[in-house]
């Protein structure tokens, strides 16, 4: 299947993403969901603001998915990232990988989220009780 890539201001829909990659050939589905945490670096976080360079983020995510497919032979993948203001507990990113066996799905999912975080132009600003700052690395 063609991978699903979503960049959206709307709340992410985990169930729809899981349904989209499901298939009778699938024996395992791994879901990674990144959610907004209420603390960071000793600060009390109020909310996060995500910003994305959409025209570049799409092809970058496509590239990461292609690489994961090549390495682990998985081809049922969905990647969704939200941007704009996100409240504590809301999902900022969801990666879903489905494959006949679980090992490949775990590996591919971990590779996708780790690579996405370092190469896809999406930034987050932490708005804490005592100020705000763009988070770097």
């Amino acid at each position: 299947m063609n991978p699903i890539i979503q960049l959206t201001r709307e709340p992410l829909k985990r169930d729809e993403l899981v349904a989209a990659v499901s298939d009778p050939t699938v024996g395992g589905i791994v879901v990674f969901e990144g959610v907004v945490r209420n603390h960071a670096r000793g600060k009390q976080v109020r909310y996060l603001e995500y910003e994305v360079y959409e025209e570049m983020a799409y092809p970058q995510i496509q590239q990461i998915i292609q690489e994961a497919s090549k390495r682990w032979g998985v081809d049922r993948i969905a990647v969704a990232h939200r941007f704009g203001r996100l409240e504590i507990g809301e999902a900022s990113v969801i990666i879903v990988v489905a494959s006949p066996h679980r090992a490949e799905a775990f590996e591919a999912c971990r590779y996708i989220i780790d690579t996405l975080k370092t190469t896809v132009p999406i930034w987050k600003k932490e708005v804490a009780t005592d100020g705000e700052a763009w988070v770097e690395g």
Partner: protein, 88 residues
């Protein structure tokens, strides 16, 4: 020649705009534009020192030469979280 430069995250806040079109000499490199930006916006220095660069939506090296109509973006570090250490 004209190039389009787009600003995101901390760069957008410091420059106070989403993008601008610059007229620069033929053969200008990204490094030249960086110098130009530091003249216009001195507070960008600590940010630009940590930026990667992208031309037409792909990562490139700072010595890359620009062409008419190119879209240049300085990419500040992303909030990468804490991935695992490399393992074999």
């Amino acid at each position: 020649m004209k190039i389009r430069i787009r600003y995101f995250a901390s760069l957008r806040e410091v420059t106070g705009q989403n993008e601008e079109t610059l007229t620069v000499p033929e053969g200008s490199t990204i490094a030249n534009i960086r110098t130009l930006l530091l003249d216009h916006y001195p507070p960008l220095r600590p940010i630009l020192e940590r930026c990667l660069c992208a031309v037409n939506r792909a990562y490139v090296q700072p010595e890359t030469e620009l062409h008419e109509g190119d879209e240049l973006v300085f990419i500040p570090p992303m909030g990468g979280g804490q991935p695992r250490r490399k393992h074999v």
